[in-house]
């Protein structure tokens, strides 16, 4: 791709960007908020049309008027959300559009057999007649990659494939990627996990603000050099956050929230927990350990079977999000697309929604109040683009998360529950959000913070709660001497017991 430029109303998403992908190479695309990564990929896969510049595939210049053109040029994509048909079987998904046809229509036996061959080539052993929805996200992703192989792709684009995978599943994916690389497939790998980028890639391309910063061999740059190229400035913000995290918490008065034996059958075992003013409690644990289930029950998004909840010493029943909101508890879901973003409303409407919901339908938040609140948060959270009248769906993931955070902060909560607030967003936004959380906690806000990135949990929390297999197995005050290894050991130890 040479001199690619793409412009949208109000923003130049890509400005004269060059990008080269060679066969048999795993190439990572890195960049911050609005750096242009997803725009570049969408140009490559035919979703967007280019305003200027050229794309050459195997030496021949091509124009992609749509995704079908890109596919016929041998470019296949696996998105973060997978985009397969969950109601169909594995085999049907793999062979979608390329089923084996006989004289009387589709030969399903042969189709499923062929699906198995493709799956086996990637080392995936799954019954092709099983329902897609019955498999984990990790397996679904590998199935999506098999599908790409069916259409004989020469270029495979993987957009944030590892966000929802655990360590062993990531290993499995990387093994598949290496296998494909040995077959001369060119792989474009987009991820925010820098460790993984260093582990798997051969080359890295860094974008910043729509411009190309450079292409580097993976051994050329150290992690901090890479981050500073992505952000354009030295990153000591994260260091300053660590310093504020080590505060002492006054636990003598009434806790904001006290749960006793709160649980739900099949979801989370009865659990006790206290949270005090200004305290950040971090939940650590593997996928499926019950962290999300527990906070959803606390917030009233799901019903509990047993247990009691006290807010500031008073017994309450938090049976719905409305009740919790009335008690000034806020919750940001881990699935922001399904449970956070109101895509067709503007940024301003999304931010004001929390306040409006509290006030009810009759008392509308007037324009002056709305403008003031919205402007305040756009500035303090550095939301881009700065216009409050842009549709929420047009923002990047990191900015969307900030808007959601603004929605909750605007309601002036006393307890803020954040489930994976930094998932799927870039380094810069991650740092900004963590810094904001630390700042708010220092000012007195209580926070429950869930993250699969244990270094974030350790950086921010005053107290860490470890969960495994739907149970709380440990709780301890955070100390500078703790590191990720200690938590992992805790999880492993309990498992072995």
């Amino acid at each position: 791709m040479r001199s690619i430029s793409i412009e949208f109303p109000g923003v130049k998403a890509l400005d004269d960007v060059d990008f080269t992908l060679r066969s048999g190479e795993i190439h990572s695309l890195l960049g911050e908020n609005g750096a242009g990564k997803s725009t570049l990929i969408k140009a490559l896969t035919g979703v967007y049309s280019i305003d200027s510049g050229t794309i050459q595939v195997s030496g021949k210049e091509r124009t992609f008027a749509g995704t079908a053109d890109a596919q016929s040029a041998g470019i296949a994509t696996v998105y973060q959300e997978i985009n397969l048909c969950t109601n169909l079987t594995v085999g049907e998904n793999v062979m979608l559009g390329h089923e084996v046809r006989g004289r009387f229509g589709i030969n399903w036996r042969a189709t499923h057999a062929k699906a198995t061959t493709y799956l086996r080539q990637l080392g995936v052993d799954v019954d092709p007649r099983s329902q897609l929805s019955g498999h984990s996200l990790a397996i679904q992703q590998l199935i999506a990659i098999s599908r790409a192989m069916v259409v004989d792709c020469r270029v495979l684009v993987l957009d944030e494939p590892t966000s929802s995978l655990d360590r062993s599943e990531v290993e499995q994916l990387f093994a598949v990627m290496r296998r494909l690389r040995s077959r001369d497939v060119a792989i474009l790998f987009v991820s925010h996990f820098l460790d993984q980028v260093y582990e798997i890639s051969d080359q890295m391309t860094v974008l910043r603000n729509g411009k190309l910063v450079g292409e580097y061999h993976v051994g050329e740059l150290s992690r901090s050099e890479l981050i500073s190229k992505m952000l354009g400035h030295e990153l000591d913000e994260l260091e300053s956050i660590a310093r504020t995290a080590s505060r002492t918490i006054d636990r003598t008065g009434n806790p904001i929230l006290k749960i006793t034996a709160l649980g739900r059958k099949g979801s989370i075992e009865p659990t006790d927990l206290d949270i005090y003013d200004g305290e950040i409690v971090g939940f650590a644990g593997l996928l499926g350990s019950g962290r999300t289930e527990l906070v959803r029950i606390i917030y009233g998004a799901d019903r509990s079977d047993h247990g009691a909840v006290e807010v500031r010493g008073k017994s309450v029943r938090l049976s719905s999000p409305r009740h919790s909101s009335n008690h000034r508890i806020a919750f940001s879901s881990e699935d922001r697309r399904a449970e956070g973003i109101i895509g067709d409303l503007t940024v301003a409407e999304n931010i004001v929604l929390g306040i409006q919901a509290k006030r009810g339908w009759l008392r509308r938040v007037n324009k002056a109040q709305s403008d003031e609140v919205v402007a305040q948060y756009i500035e303090s959270l550095d939301i881009r683009p700065v216009s409050p009248h842009i549709l929420m769906s047009n923002l990047s993931g990191g900015n969307q998360q900030k808007v959601l955070l603004a929605r909750w902060l605007a309601t002036a909560p006393q307890l803020l529950i954040l489930d994976e607030p930094t998932r799927g967003i870039d380094v810069g936004a991650k740092a900004e959000i963590q810094r904001e959380i630390a700042k708010l906690a220092t000012a007195g806000l209580g926070v429950i913070f869930i993250s699969s990135e244990l270094d974030e949990v350790l950086r921010l929390s005053q107290r860490v709660v470890v969960l495994r297999d739907r149970r709380k197995i440990a709780e301890f005050d955070n100390h500078e001497s703790f590191d990720i290894g200690d938590i992992v050991a805790l999880i492993a130890k309990e498992g072995a017991a």
């Binding site: 067709d344 409407e349 009759l362 509308r364 047009n394």
Partner: protein, 343 residues
């Protein structure tokens, strides 16, 4: 808006008297006036339908509900000793509309609380409602003579048909309700993403419940107008297939059937398009059996002209590459922008 303009133009060309308005006894007459008057029941129903569709729902029962309100009101008046008193008429209307409000709330209960799919929940009343209306009238088509009641559909105020003022009133009240309070934006929020709205603390259940109630109330009022026109409670024909016209008006107006953002002014235009269409067809002498086909063709043409894809295609033909759509808060332009931006 363009489609409406085109229809008006077509009419004026084929019969120059279309646009003429005459004055008799201080009242205005003419084809345009007829459209303003005859569109009132559809306007009421379509306004309610817009809100229901915005919540990702649908209300198929509006026609049957029209029959019910007419039946109730006429039964009350026919059994009353003083059918010509305004008081009696007002009570009859009040009770008729109240009953349909309850039916609307019943629909809302099924959808919002029990969780039944709107199409099924309202289908039940669509099928059973006319039977209920017939039960109320004892199986007859109740007729009455009551001059106050007749005034609504047949009378005039300030020279314009009284029925038209029903339309105007409904548009004004619903418009204020939706844009002056937060009901509009909360409804859109619920329609666009119900789970996110619920987690944000929005009273999704209450909003959906109330909106079905409003739909029932408006349909009830439409039924009163209809029965006032013929001074009879015709349970089989009242509002027959009006739900389809209402849905059509909403869609023509630009509100998406997927729910979420809605436009009341769009629906108003949609209603006028359909009413003008009916008037055109009648005047052109198209046999009644062919009318639906004619309507369907025009509707398809309007939908094509609204489709962003067709617009893009036309744009390409006219070599208008490079024209960027503006960032707009509502309307169809955002569809194009969102299409470009969608994953």
């Amino acid at each position: 808006m363009g489609a409406l303009f085109a229809l008006v133009l077509l009419n004026t060309i084929s019969r120059p008297s279309f646009l003429s308005i005459t004055v008799k006894n201080g009242q205005l007459y003419g084809s345009i006036i007829d459209i303003l008057r005859d569109s009132a029941p559809l306007m009421l129903v379509a306004l309610g339908m817009t809100l229901v569709i915005a919540t990702r729902g649908i209300d198929l029962s509006v026609g049957a509900v029209m029959a019910i309100s007419g039946a109730v009101a006429l039964q009350i008046i026919s059994k009353s000793t003083s059918p010509n008193r305004i008081g009696t008429v007002l009570i009859a209307i009040g009770i008729g509309v109240f009953i349909t409000l309850l039916f609307g709330l019943w629909n809302g209960f099924l959808v919002a609380v029990v969780g039944i799919q709107p199409i099924i929940a309202t289908l039940v009343l669509m099928l059973g409602g006319r039977g209920i209306a017939l039960l109320i009238t004892g199986g007859f088509i109740t007729t009455i003579t009551s001059s106050p009641y007749a005034q609504m559909a047949q009378g005039h105020l300030l020279g314009l048909p009284l029925a038209f003022f029903f339309s105007v009133g409904a548009i004004a009240i619903i418009g204020l309700l939706v844009r002056r309070t937060a009901l509009g934006v909360l409804t859109e929020s619920v329609g666009i993403n119900p789970s996110a709205s619920r987690l944000a603390g929005v009273r999704s259940r209450g909003i959906i419940w109330s909106i079905y109630g409003i739909s029932g109330l408006l349909a009830g009022l439409a039924g009163i107008l209809y029965s006032s026109n013929i001074m009879a409670a015709d349970s089989n024909n009242a509002g027959f297939l009006i739900e389809l016209d209402a849905i059509l008006a909403v869609v023509l107006g630009g509100t998406s059937l997927r729910g979420g953002k809605f436009t009341l002014s769009g629906t108003v235009i949609g209603v006028f398009i359909i009413q003008t269409l009916t008037s055109t067809i009648t005047f052109l002498g198209v046999p009644p059996a062919v009318t639906p086909v004619f309507k369907a063709i025009v509707v398809i043409l309007v939908c094509l002209s609204q489709s962003s894809r067709v617009r893009q295609w036309l744009g390409r033909i006219r070599h208008l590459r490079g024209a960027k759509p503006p960032i707009r808060l509502s309307g169809l332009e955002t569809e194009v922008l969102a299409e470009r931006k969608s994953v």
